[in-house]
């Protein structure tokens, strides 16, 4: 498994646990607003969780226009 795939996998696991959604229901290209049924503030909450997990800091604007797990993983990967 590549580093970026590992990052993606960890994001999917964290999102499933944080929003109490079965992990198998989430896929990389899901629109997380839709799949998780969350608004943009709850997405920021997830971002905070991810920051703590990966020990990075992501400005809010990094999430602007991002709505799928794969792109989110790419944004995080470049900061690892």
């Amino acid at each position: 498994m590549t580093a970026s795939n590992q990052t993606l996998e960890q994001i999917l696991n964290l999102a499933a646990a944080h929003f109490k959604v079965p992990r198998e229901k989430l896929t990389a290209d899901d629109d997380f607003f839709k799949t998780l049924g969350i608004d943009s503030l709850q997405a920021l909450d997830l971002l905070t969780r991810l920051e703590h997990h990966f020990h990075i800091e992501l400005p809010d604007y990094e999430l602007q226009g991002v709505s799928d797990f794969r792109t989110l993983a790419e944004r995080i990967q470049v900061r690892l």
Binding site: F33, L44, G65
Partner: protein, 569 residues
Amino acid sequence: MLNLDQYTCLGEALRDALDRWPNETCLIEADRDREKTRLTYSDFKEVALPLARALEDAGFNSGDRAAIIMTNQSKWLISAYAVFYRGGVLVPLDYKLTAAEHLQLLAHSKAKFLIVEYYLWRAITQSPEFKNNKLTKVLVTEAPLGADLAGAYRWEDFRRKGDPAFVSRGRADVACIVYSSGTGGRPKGCVLTHDNYLEQCKALTAWYPFWPGVRYLSILPTNHAIDFMVGFIGPFVCGACVVHLRTLRPEFVRDAFVRYKITYVALVPMILKNLERGLRAKFDELSAGKRFLLYRMIALNKSLTRAHPKVGLSRKLLSGVHQGFGGELLAMFTGGAFVEPSTLQFFYDLGIPVANGYGLTEAGTSLTLNDLKPFRADTVGKPLPGVELRILNPDSDGIGEVAVHGKTVMSHYLDDPELTAQTIVDGWLVTGDLGRFDGNGHLQLFGRKKNMIVTEGGKNIYPEDIENAFDGLPVKECCIFAANYLWPAKSLGREMLVLLLRLEQNQEFTEALKQEIIARNRRLPDFKRIGGYLMCGKDFPRTASMKIKRIELADDVRKVLGRAAVVEL
């Protein structure tokens, strides 16, 4: 507070404010839990005047237009003041738009100068439309050292010594051009005068005054009419302080209330609901005994504050809750989109009044506001002083289109006399919103006559603005409607956009087509996305120039299809 009647323009009032309260803190800027900037009115002047002088030396003169595209931060207000000092016209643009949309509105507004944050400028310069821009000077804030600024200037270095010449403007002169919509369709640039803003400020502060020591937490975008007024003009002309928080992360918003002992905040319904959710979760975590006691205190507070808020008493009865908000919160403002009455009531019962209001960019900031005498969760309040409202063509329930007249109503739409004439009729601005007055003079809203939605984040979304995302979809024709426009709901809740599809003869709606719609929808910002689609059984009626006759089409649809025909995406 300054006596605003004595001023002819915002620049004059702000200039006097800086001299009147030199030692009061006017701005605090925090990024998460890190404080980045703290300025007194005197500091603010020291930072702003060299910028105004540099603008002057660069040829920025009376009536010239300068756009700002920035998140909430101190440089937004400093730049705006420098523009007003030089008699300029401010064009505040929404930083959440795409680069192409920014360029489109910059072109429409004919802005000569642009003041922009680095990450936004980088996106703008990478847009294919960038080569056509007509900007003469661009100032970029917070650019990394050595960054390629594509010919722009570094905001932090754009300074000149010497006193700038102050340029006064008249009350009828243009202060701002604010876009209420139109990025994909017909740009609606609301031309607002200095008189509009000074009168709006006077009306709002009559009901909710600011004073030195008051701290307003600014988390709505400053380009938004509400934050521009209650997060800039209002506090400044009263010697109060604006706290900018450069993140919307809920945990830092909560922290900022406490850290800065916030007095007022304006919120969109989404943030209000988020706060409610957080509080309810905390209440649920309490032990059974503590929870029982808390709910008894809430019930007691509710009964004792039925007639009007008693902040001191509520702070004593529910000290834990109030301490969680810093202990000095007087009220929260909301408006612009539908707010669940239960959310408003939840906060009021805790002793934290939420003043729900109603306004639109075309009429300044706010037309009505809850005056809390008594609190009402089911209305958007009463007209502010100086605002005249009437209900046009009321039905048997008294519900009709809301029209407004008063000094806060915009002058016109920029370069669009036809749209202006449709919107301002005999001096009355027709809002497109449906409402009625109750026996106590409170306005209640019941939906929209216009084809648009307002999101929980307070964004106006017009179908025409996003239709280009579906251009070339492999169907015969398609267009977008607000569901509540197709099927009037007498409510502002459940707002969504729907895609109306007309398939080719013998064409089937395939899974591939559905996936294509989903993919295109996802390319739109989340707040602009359609919520579902439905099929139209006949060709769209069109004008001689092939434009869709939307009113006729909407009539056709509602005759044969109900809301249940919408397939949610």
